[in-house]
Symmetry: C2
Amino acid sequence: MSNAIVGQSGGPTAVINSSLAGVYEAAKQRGAKHVYGMLHGVQGLLEEKYIDLSERLHSALDIELLKRTPSSYLGSCRYKLPDWRDKEGEKLYQDIFKILKKLDIGYFFYIGGNDSMDTICKLAAYGNHVGSSIRFMGVPKTIDNDLMVTDHTPGYGSAAKYIGVVMKEIIRDATVYGTKYVTIVEVMGRNAGWLTAASALAKEEDCEGVDMIALPEVTFNVDRFVEKVKRMQEEKPSVVIAVSEGVKLEDGRYVCELADDVHAVDAFGHKSLTGTARYLSNVIARSMNTKTRSIELSTLQRCAGHVSSRTDITEAYQVGGAAVKAAYEGETGKVVTLKRISNAPYQCTTEIHDISEVANLEKKVPMSWINDAHTQMKQEFIDYAKPLIQAELTPVYVSGLPRHIYLPE
Amino acid sequence: MSNAIVGQSGGPTAVINSSLAGVYEAAKQRGAKHVYGMLHGVQGLLEEKYIDLSERLHSALDIELLKRTPSSYLGSCRYKLPDWRDKEGEKLYQDIFKILKKLDIGYFFYIGGNDSMDTICKLAAYGNHVGSSIRFMGVPKTIDNDLMVTDHTPGYGSAAKYIGVVMKEIIRDATVYGTKYVTIVEVMGRNAGWLTAASALAKEEDCEGVDMIALPEVTFNVDRFVEKVKRMQEEKPSVVIAVSEGVKLEDGRYVCELADDVHAVDAFGHKSLTGTARYLSNVIARSMNTKTRSIELSTLQRCAGHVSSRTDITEAYQVGGAAVKAAYEGETGKVVTLKRISNAPYQCTTEIHDISEVANLEKKVPMSWINDAHTQMKQEFIDYAKPLIQAELTPVYVSGLPRHIYLPE
């Protein structure tokens, strides 16, 4: 039982590889002979697809590149484990534990969001059921920042910084003609508006900020939206709006469902959301005498390694290391969380919680952090989010572009 | 005749303000008492909207921030001057020259692309016609890189760098699940494919590069496109394609016109192009068993001051200064161009050309730089573009975000 294995799961972030570096280095320090990486998470593991990380990470420079490479170095999956209490389900767990035994795994780390924590929860429970000594630990990541218990999730700070940066740039660009112009920027976030809220960070002494922020926490009404935009444009010609892809109508439908595009559904039953900004921009163009533009930040916001938050990269590395420490001290079925000690100066430490407190649950933006008109974030949110975007870790630029580390297929 | 005036026109870039800084500092050095800035180009000038730049730029730090602030500090316009030989047209020129006389202007600088150079061309010709001693100089800028004569245009290098950076990140993100996935990225460029071609820069020893590049220089055929993508996906599951917003069908229609969105037309008669990637992505989704995603780089690619090319910022500053030098030496109706001395080591200098060689003309990507299959750029393009994206000028980060300088409305 001298080896460790680590996997990455769910949507990529700019710093998920920094957590991988944290797990790898801490496990090596604790004496793991081999640290394996599952390729494409448990789905790949089931097909015995894995690598020995020591054979790939040859130097301190490789570790440094890993920390600064966006997306998931090991590949990812969206794979939901069945219930192990079902007969057919149990077979799959037996397969996984057979593979883990073959690799002499004592410690199992999984870096992911709330869906991925479900995997750790089930594996730990099954391990307990069969009396396995393997320690299962969850390492949190998600740009969505929607995990319970933890103050915030690694990945959020960098995505929030990216959103702040591009909103400032979009605002500068959109005011340039001095003419009537409505820009609607679509930000990721299915049910929780943390990312869209980050657009509030653009407001500074050198920037007028976005004019409206629409979060999925607030029921969306298209007619009222148009009215608000009309009123805003009477005050200033260029109106810039940040809208979450997940805004919903009173009847529960997503706004983007009003558009006519195909909406696919993933393994967890989540609808593919896209086209909210485009739909609203078309509505505005039809109802008002103004030029409009819709901008989808799309995957750019989750893989922008070139403008990540140093605070975020550091914390992502730390939660990886803390997971290893806890596992080697005997914990299993747990997740590392971040606990904020203070805002000014910003201080944050790690804690260990039962994974059941996190798995399959979602943390939303508190309504008390949204203004009464439901158009802006209050100072409480700014105080919360501002420390998370502080400081930069410049990419290693080679010949004009950020250098990454990657596994060729 | 002791003063100078400068304006910005056309679409913003990440470095157009660096040219403004170049004009401002050189004009001050040459003894200009006041350097005025037109607000929103000649359109604003006609309404006597201008500022005295010395009253706004207080310190060397302000100049530094100006160089690193994207979009047009003075605001911009898309305004086509009438023919001064028309009776009604001449009235407008008389108005402009009256305002210039009132401000005691001896030197007039206009930073813009091929449409904006038309303005300088006409003003210089009218000035000549009425025996004015005012010197009119064009300062080139455009992310599109479609100006004749000049080796490249300031603004292109930074946009090309941005495109290289995000393509690498998009490719990392798109390969993460190891599943079938077609990503189509839409890049700006109405008739010239310089920007889309820049996606070829992503291919490096740490990146497999984009799988297909579609430029407006090559007639687009939707059926052949689908066939090519099908073949590519047989080789590798994740296919990433860069497509220009301006790709056209054999019958002359833009591909995006096949979609059903409204397409507005601007003052120069240019159709608003958007939706090409989305349209093609929907076609692929209907014809093939694959997940698809379309990403529009939209205005993000022209205002990404946070990832600009230091080479580009420096050259943008230089062309501003060179325009002032030429004007003070008596030139008028001219434009500054860039002349490449050598590729390795990269060396570039400025020249002065008649504005009529540039105004209203477009330079396209040479067909000889595109491979026979029309899917990739040849080494000639890489050798041309690579020097332009070299080196970085990090923004001045304040509290986690790049600091800009701006004129509140």
